[in-house]
């Protein structure tokens, strides 16, 4: 009986097999397969479920202290080069396997409810399984090359899923933007991988790290070049994990169905960048410049995300910017040389952010009953309010999620975020200050979301406001189709069990998983890095822990209090207080730091203009010369006739002349 680690290759292959089967069915027997909704969903859920069982077996084995398993085969070779592929199971990979399969499984169950009325139900499940497979392949990749392969594949799945509702212009643009921005990051990643391979002759993580140091010591690679290569590789994680300035795709990606936002754009794929940086620790750690760069980028990102989230009126966009901010925290941890803390935040964040997104999906689903299938209306918090009365499960879990992300002990977010801040305090006090203040903003904007959505009175039936919002989105004139036909409900309802159950399940780890990483006895730390965890536990002192923890809890409470005053008790009109007095700040935040505009002007328009002028050159100059030559040679119709009828003779003549010329030339050259 082979051990779970040896069977780990099955974990990505099972969902892939399911997805391929259904995909082939869809293309060959479209109608039949589209009608088999439940059987298909059941098949794909069981594939992912089996992968989950296997993942937990692998994790259990790792918890029991099994070492890393690596299996490689020769994938491509030429000369003495061989490119190897295979899989690698270690503690880091096992944690990610368990995490990804768990959330994928819950999101699939949830999707059964959320997508129940969508005509693309089967296609949606196929994409989900395909994504799960790619993501699982990514986490068990043994080398950079294979990481790159799956990196691209998860990007493709994201492209397909963001553009899932392809009749919507917004979705189509967002999908393309996501792919292209990610390709910009991959450009750096590819060059970095190539460069590291040139410098070290290897794609393996540890090998690159050690050989790079040897190469620097022997003088064959200069430190500057090595740093440059590290930064190039880091461009990949910057794009995938939505770090400034390549974060612009993530908020737009919310055009995809909400379960996707939860699975791909909050819990798993966007965390792949953080995961890769964790994998690359052996390469990065010897370079303090690189570490500093990563930490600074992380800090800019966390401030940027949180500041923009302050003014968002779209529930999903608010959560999206919050994700950007939280990813910044994880990156900050990586830059502080604390990969365990970063990974721990990745895990806790995955649980509570997936729950928050699924909760927002539940809200949107409920709102659609009232305002129709128009994302501009169904996701806008100005039309929500008071939903707690009708949606007890959703509101309770959302509330737990808000507490968790705000860092209130003993919920998950507290432990992980506090560990990151503690590390930052030791490494870069200035960056710690930014992270610390942002923790307050986080608590504020999350509770702002909560109060606007679930408390107060319901505003969904305000048709004047609806028309106003539609007009603002440029959709005022047209009828919004599907939802218009049947009569709307008066107020929203709680979602069915398929959607409520995953929320409830996710609430458990959101509360408890943080206890696995308490600083005086971090079970998580012992799994990933026993040596460091033992050291941390040994040096742990309440005297150091309490002041820092107390400070971050305090600032969170301040944030929550402001939110309560402003949005629950209505004692404070922030709109008038801030927007009125500092219109520039408000405009800066509402326009998302103007980054989208800069991108559009500089890169989108710029590349279009460049491409158009190259085409001009091609058709006018290059082809012009050709046509001119043709014209001169042929002269008139006479010439053409000569050419066609006398071709053979013409040839012979030229050939003869040419040979003589060549022979003469030869004689001259010797």
């Amino acid at each position: 009986m082979p051990s779970p680690a040896e069977l780990a290759w099955l974990i990505p292959v099972l969902p892939l097999a399911g997805a391929c089967l259904v995909g082939l069915g869809l293309i060959s027997f479209n109608r039949t397969i589209n009608r088999l909704r439940k059987p298909v969903a059941l098949l794909l859920i069981s594939c992912v479920g089996a992968a989950a069982v296997l993942s937990y077996a692998v994790l259990a084995q790792q918890l029991a202290g099994a070492g890393a398993t690596e299996v490689l085969f020769n994938w491509a070779s030429a000369g003495t080069f061989t490119l190897e592929m295979g899989f690698r199971v270690d503690a880091l990979g096992a944690v990610m396997l368990a995490l990804v399969t768990t959330i994928a499984l819950l999101v699939m169950v949830y999707s059964d409810g959320y997508m129940a009325h969508d005509k693309g139900y089967v296609r949606f499940f196929t994409y989900l399984a395909l994504f799960s497979s790619s993501m699982l392949g990514l986490v068990i990749s043994p080398n950079l090359l294979e990481i790159y392969v799956f990196w691209e594949l998860v990007g493709m799945c994201s492209y397909l899923l963001v553009g899932f509702w392809y009749d919507r212009d917004g979705a189509a643009n967002a999908a393309q933007k996501a792919f292209v921005v990610n390709r910009v990051g991959d450009f750096g990643l590819l060059l970095g991988i190539l460069g590291l391979f040139w410098a070290t002759g290897s794609f393996g993580f540890e090998e690159i790290g050690s050989r790079l140091q040897e190469a620097i010591a022997s003088g064959s690679v200069s430190t500057a070049v090595a740093v440059l290569l590290c930064l190039l590789v880091f461009m990949g994680p910057m794009a995938k994990s939505a770090q400034f300035p390549l974060h612009v795709w993530l908020p737009d990606a919310m055009e995809g169905p909400t379960p996707i936002s939860a699975l791909i754009h909050a819990a798993t794929m966007v965390a792949a960048g953080v995961f890769l940086v964790a994998r690359l620790q052996p390469v990065y750690v010897p370079f303090p410049q690189v570490q500093l760069f990563i930490a600074v980028i992380g800090t800019i990102t966390l401030v940027l995300g949180a500041s923009i989230a302050l003014t968002q009126m779209d529930l999903k966009k608010g959560l999206a910017y919050s994700t950007v901010s939280q990813l910044g925290y994880m990156m900050l941890a990586m830059g502080c040389g604390a990969p365990v803390a970063g990974m721990f935040h990745l895990v806790t964040h995955a649980f509570f952010k997936a729950m928050l997104f699924l909760g927002s999906g539940s809200v949107i689903h409920a709102m659609e009953d009232v305002v129709g299938h128009e994302p501009v209306l169904a996701q806008d918090m100005r039309l929500m309010g008071g939903l707690r009365r009708w949606m007890p499960v959703t509101s309770t879990t959302f509330f737990i999620g808000c507490l968790a992300i705000s860092g209130i002990p003993p919920l998950a977010g507290f432990w992980s975020k506090d560990e990151i801040l503690g590390q930052a305090f030791g490494s870069f006090p200035l960056l710690w200050a930014a992270g610390f203040l942002t923790a307050g903003m986080t608590a504020f904007y999350m509770f702002r979301l909560y109060f606007l959505t679930f408390e107060g009175s319901f505003r969904g039936n305000d048709t004047a406001l609806q028309a106003q919002l539609l007009a603002a989105a440029g959709k005022g004139g047209e009828e919004h189709g599907e939802g218009h036909g049947h009569s709307h409900a008066e107020h929203p309802h709680e979602s069915g069990w398929q959607m409520a159950m995953p929320l409830a399940v996710l609430a458990v780890p959101s509360v408890l998983v943080g206890l696995l990483g308490v600083p005086w006895n971090s079970r998580f730390g012992f799994l990933l890095d026993p040596h460091e965890a033992a050291e941390v536990a040994e040096h742990f002192s309440w005297g150091e822990f309490l002041p820092l923890a107390g400070a971050s809890v305090t600032i969170s409470l301040v944030g929550i209090t402001v939110a309560v005053l402003a949005y629950a008790l209505r004692r404070l009109d922030l709109g008038a207080a801030v927007a009125g007095r500092f219109p520039a700040v408000n405009a800066f935040l509402a326009n998302k730091w103007y980054l989208d505009d800069i991108n559009d002007k500089l890169f989108v328009q710029g590349s279009r203009k460049l491409a158009r002028s190259v085409l001009e050159v091609d058709s006018k100059v290059v082809d012009g010369v050709v046509n001119l030559t043709g014209l001169v040679t042929l002269g008139s119709g006479e010439g053409l006739k000569y050419f066609e009828t006398g071709r053979a003779q013409f040839y012979a003549l030229i050939v003869f002349g040419g040979v003589i010329a060549l022979v003469v030339l030869f004689g001259a050259l010797g």
């Binding site: 491509a76 393309q176 190539l194 040139w198 040679t633």
Partner: protein, 543 residues
């Protein structure tokens, strides 16, 4: 030097000449002979019977090439195999001499495979069907001959012979500007053929005895100056075919006017003739000149990638867009050929095969889409995905293959070129950095133009005008089958590249060894050349 290589080749030839069945001659002559029988096939005039005949012939040809591969070809042997040699016109020194090594064999298989699918793609052709299928089958034989013949004169004949069908296929079945496109094509290609003939004759008459045989040519030991001259001429000739910017302007016109099956052949096979000939003549017969010219190939490759990608992005005509994307992809072939590493050259070869498959699939889809929308202007399309969902899915898969998504063949070949070139010790580090960096820009540009193309055709709201005036039916089984057939090797190679690379690996390594020795024989570069090439530190390409 080439001499010992030629000797080993000659012995191998002698040993292999006992092959029982003439697989290669059969694959060349059978489709041509069968094509000549087409006038006698009973048909009511709409091509309903002729097409079955043509399909049968194309499939048989495919089976013949596969038979040759399975029965007489050993992938681990780097030398010429399946050799047949019959003296034809001894006075002219002309012999019927065919054979296949790793450089020919995959392309021969590709040719017969794509042609069979092209015949299936030509199913709806009803205008002069006899002539149409006749030309397709004649091209099949002619193109296999280009890859299989081992005699310069025969090569020239085959190269020219294949022009005529393409000219007619363009001029008779093409679009509105077909005359212009066909004339441009024939002038361009005929003009470039002169260089082949010139160089070929010069090479044949060089030295003491006259011979057109590749093996003899290799053994002649041309002086470096002669090699440089011949190389330059051949580069122009093959550069038109591949094409290399700025010799490319025939291609968008020809591709823009061709019908789908012709399109598949143009993109799938015709362009590969240029790449094949570069490998066969410029790299194998003129290795010393190749050592000098290779940096130029690399630079031209990068120009191809970026220039054509940008042009493609600005194109509003669907066919021309894809045509330019072909040019862009051929840039990787040039870089691979210009690298002196086994991995890079192997990648160039794989890129030819991969683009043959992906290009054929995309061009087929263009044709299928045009049949429905009756327009190629992207401005007039939009939201088509709602009525044609399967077509949408096929387009998406093929576009993703074209933008080198991992798991498909394009990714592997581009990766091999990248890694091969980046680790190629024959070039200086700054040169490699600049070239690799620029080529990687293609990684960003390709998805931009391909995805915006998908966006404009399929996504968004349906264009009311288009829906009102056209009948948008979804993909039929025949179309899905054709794309499916092309996707099997595309994905197969993507998942496990050795399926393909192992068939030509031995020959390619031998070729790279030859060129690497030529590089090492060069004097250490001085002046501005030292910025590009460096004195070899160790055996390049093998380390």
């Amino acid at each position: 030097m080439p001499l010992d290589f030629a000797v080993s080749l000659a012995t191998a030839t002698a040993q292999a000449s006992g092959t029982a069945f003439p697989w290669l001659s059969a694959s060349i002559l059978f489709p041509i002979a069968a094509a000549l029988c087409i006038p006698f096939v009973p048909d009511k005039g709409e091509g309903k019977q002729v097409r079955w005949f043509a399909l049968g012939v194309a499939l048989t040809t495919f089976l013949l090439t596969v038979g040759g591969y399975l029965n007489g070809y050993d992938p681990s042997n780097p030398n010429l195999q399946l050799v047949e040699k019959v003296s034809w016109l001894p006075d002219l020194g002309l012999a019927w001499s065919v054979g296949a090594d790793g450089i020919s064999m995959p392309l021969i298989l590709l040719t017969s495979f794509i042609t069979a699918l092209a015949v299936l793609a030509a199913w709806p052709v009803s205008f002069k069907p006899r002539l149409f299928y006749f030309l397709l089958l004649a091209m099949d034989g002619g193109q296999i001959a280009v890859f299989a013949v081992q005699d310069m004169l025969l090569f020239f004949l085959a190269w020219e012979l294949e022009l005529l069908p393409v000219y007619l296929l363009l001029a008779i079945w093409g679009g509105k500007k077909r005359q212009y496109a066909a004339t441009k094509f024939i002038l361009y290609t005929a003009g470039s053929s002169l260089f082949i003939l010139l160089a070929g004759l010069a090479m044949a008459f060089y030295g003491g005895h006259t011979s057109f045989d590749y093996t003899d040519l290799m053994a002649k030991g041309f002086s470096v100056k002669f090699q440089l001259l011949a190389y330059a001429g051949l580069l122009i000739a093959f550069g038109v075919k591949l094409p290399i910017v700025p010799l490319h302007t025939w291609l968008p016109d020809a591709h823009g006017e061709a019908t789908a099956p012709v399109h598949m052949l143009l993109a799938g096979i015709l362009l590969k003739m240029g790449g094949y000939a570069l490998l066969r003549f410029n790299c194998q017969i003129l290795p010393d000149a190749h050592a000098v010219f290779a940096p130029l190939l690399v630079v031209l490759g990068v120009v191809n990638i970026i220039y054509a990608a940008l042009t493609s992005f600005a194109q509003r005509n669907l066919k021309r867009k894809i045509a330019y994307s072909s040019i862009s992809h051929m840039g990787f072939v040039l870089i691979g050929i210009g690298s002196f590493s086994a991995l890079g050259s192997s990648g160039a070869m794989l890129q030819m095969i991969s683009h043959g498959l992906i290009g054929a699939s995309l061009f087929f889809l263009v044709g299928a889409t045009y049949d429905r929308t009756h327009t190629l202007q992207l401005d007039e399309m939009g939201g088509v995905g709602q009525k044609m969902r399967k077509m949408f899915a096929l387009w998406t898969v093929c576009s993703l293959a074209s933008l080198a998504l991992p798991g498909m063949s394009g990714f592997v070949s581009e990766l091999m070129v990248f890694v091969g070139f980046a680790t190629d010790e024959a070039y200086t580090l700054p040169f490699r950095v600049v070239i690799t960096g620029l080529a990687a820009i293609g990684v960003i540009l390709t998805p931009i133009y391909l995805l915006s193309m998908l966006r404009e055709i399929f996504y968004g709201k349906e264009k009311a005008e288009l829906v009102a005036h056209t009948h948008l039916v979804d993909a039929e089984p025949r179309e899905i089958y054709i794309i499916g057939c092309l996707l099997v090797p595309i994905i197969g190679i993507g998942l496990y590249p050795r399926l393909m690379t192992d068939t030509y690996r031995a020959s390619m390594e031998q070729l790279v060894g030859l060129d690497s020795r030529a590089v090492q024989a060069l004097n250490a570069p001085t002046g501005s050349a030292a910025l590009i090439r460096q004195a070899p530190l160790r055996a390049p390409g093998l380390g």
